[in-house]
Amino acid sequence: MLTVVILFLFFAILLYFLLGGADFGAGIIELFTSTDNKSRTRRTMYKAIGPIWEANHMWLIIAVVILFVGFPTIYSSMCTYLHIPLLIMLLGITARGTAFTFRNYDAIKDDKIQDLYNYIFVYSSFITPLFLGITAGSVISRQIDPTAGDYLNTYIYSWLNWFSVAVGFFTVALCGFLASIYLIGEAKEQFDIKRFTKKAVIMNAAAVGFGGLVFLAAEVEHVHLAYWIFGNPVSLVAVIAASVSLMLLWYLLIRGKTKIIRILAAFQVSMILLSVGYRHYPNIIMIKGGNNLSVLKDHAPMTTITDLGWGLLLGSLLILPALGYLFYSFQRKNNIV
């Protein structure tokens, strides 16, 4: 049952990256859209993510719940040493979710207030994945140091280091990339498809650029990222698969296959997560000095894991069909209208 719970944790995190990430990305795209086209972008985006965005963010809740029920030491260590980036991420989630809802449900659409919602929405869409990425980078950066004793080393440098910050920006670029690929498939007019394609190119370039920075920063901070990824066959294959599928994606996009490419984009992000995740498995938080926290070692008693596993299995019997139908029906209905 422990394996089931670990798989759920991995997939909840992955799905949050993909679906929640694409949501954040939509805001990032809006942030980098010229003023003239902002409302067009907004319309496409609203149609695309309106009905599903709340559900997309539920994966974070599922992941957190699995962590604190199944892996309490891991959860409490994260919350203690990465308190600050998590806090900023939370503020971002709050600002973003409410601004998105409020701008749609404000009965009077006056420009001034709408501008305020938009402003909050786009900036929090940027900040949230940035700090999500920083948090993700920090757990593998080996900078978390419970024995440090002083404030800066314990609570600040645990996340404020070149590697974590580079991972943060890399995450932002990936979110933007996911969203632009998704929006290409949602756009109805050639003009919008062109615009989103341009965004996808920029975001792709940004992701490659920041990805390079991540490797560079890893060397600066003595994180053996290159060795982790290229030093074992599974990670290596995953990275190669991601690169090949990226080429395939661009080829298909040129051929005008605007829907299928989103699967490839999702595949790439999954491969990136897999290549890093696999190498560390079962360790999930890398701690300075090597006292790492592992999902195989630092889990709750088996009775809890068993109950949690059953809860998740039964829960997904309810959630997955309903969610699938939600995605399917709005996809279909949007195309009819």
């Binding site: 309106g50 009905p51 599903i52 709340e54 559900a55 963010h57 539920m58 974070l60 809740i61 599922i62 957190v64 719940v65 699995i66 604190f68 029920v69 199944g70 309490p72 959860y75 409490s76 994260m78 919350c79 203690t80 308190h83 998590l86 806090l87 939370l90 503020l91 989630i93 709050t94 979710g97 409410t98 998105f100 809802t101 409020f102 749609n104 449900y105 404000d106 009965a107 009077i108 404030y151 314990t154 609570y155 709750a300 008693p301 009775t303 809890t304 109950d307 949690l308 809860g311 998740l312 039964l314 829960g315 309810l318 959630i319 309903a322 969610l323 939600l326 029906s329 709005f330 209905k333």
Partner: protein, 436 residues
Amino acid sequence: MNDFIAARSQMALSLGFHIIYSCIGMVMPVFMAISNYKYIKTKNPLYKHITQAWSKGVAIFFATGAVSGTMLSFELGLLWPKFMEHAGPIFGMPFSLEGVAFFIEAIALGFFLYGWDKFNKWFHWFTGVVVGVSGVVSGILVVSANSWMNSPAGFDYVNGQYQNIDPIKAMFNAAWFSEALHMTIAAFAATGFAVAGIHALMIFRKKNVNFHTKSFKIAIAFGAIAAILQPLSGDLSAKGAAKRQPAKLAAMEAHFHTEPYSALLIGGFPDTVAKKVNYGIELPGVLSFLVYDNFKTPVKGLDQIPQKDQPNVPVTHYAFQLMVAIGMFLLLIGLLYFFALWKKRAWLTKNWFLKLFIAATPLGFIAVEAGWTVTEVGRQPWIIQGVMRTSEAVTPMPGIHYSFYLFTFIYFTLSLAVVFLLSRQIKMVPELYDVN
């Protein structure tokens, strides 16, 4: 402000706001589904408009409830890592099920809000019902997790170790039913009266009277019935507290001395130094009767509880008195409503009658906050009753007061925004809907 007080304040603030958002977020979908049902049955477009107007309120509250809930799922660890490290595996089961219920709710809400005229009308209605049902189930599950803190079960605490963990036993601890019942009824009462009060105000101002009267009727039916039922569940909760948390009950009642014919206290100002209550009305034997069904059995007083294990008596007592007073008032005007419906229909449109309900708009939520204060402050100094002290659970990170100020700012801004949006929604009713 020291870090411990800052952490407690931040948690109190977060829960204090979340409880309002989530009560409305779980009860309003029920109203919405009822009104939608009436629309499908009567084909009266007014009900469709009411459903749509309410669904916008639901969307706003769901979004704020969802984000504040997400924040809380992290705040538990950000502020109380030692607590979560030990308690997570024991009391986390209802949270994981709540995650599932909440997920279902979000999916169903997506269908309902965006599915008008796109689906079969009964399927669409059904998704609204699912929003309501999963909202209520989420609420019950979260409260059941809280009840475990009041009535820990499902583990053995041996030499500082938590052993033989059984999450299912923990979930169905002795307090879960009474607490979940009390909170669910409270949510219906508070939301019912709040929604009804706003519609009463619009009727009073002669704005779209037909629309608001129909809305008022649906909301008040739930509010009034819940208010009438609440004392029964309150009695159950108090009996439970007497058994499991005598310190809490003693603080609620400012019951300093253990003696036969224990008195029920109404009002009064507790003096914790002199260990007496000034200006209170004492009804001898009534407390004993309520707890033990006879007038004589003494109810454990604060004199039998070590000072270091006692909660803050005045705060718990005042909060309890406030909750009961409001509960009684809502019960009375709930009864008055049914009486008017039955015998005096003319009252329903009278100004004094409407004013009564307008005045009651915030009261239910004040009572909810007061009740929440009773259960949380009344449990102190424990975070897990009798097992772990709140002070042992707090994060080692210094500087929590900054985070508290930040959260205070966020929650107040968020609430102002919600009020602003709702008032605009209400203002635009004649423009948005054909209400005649």
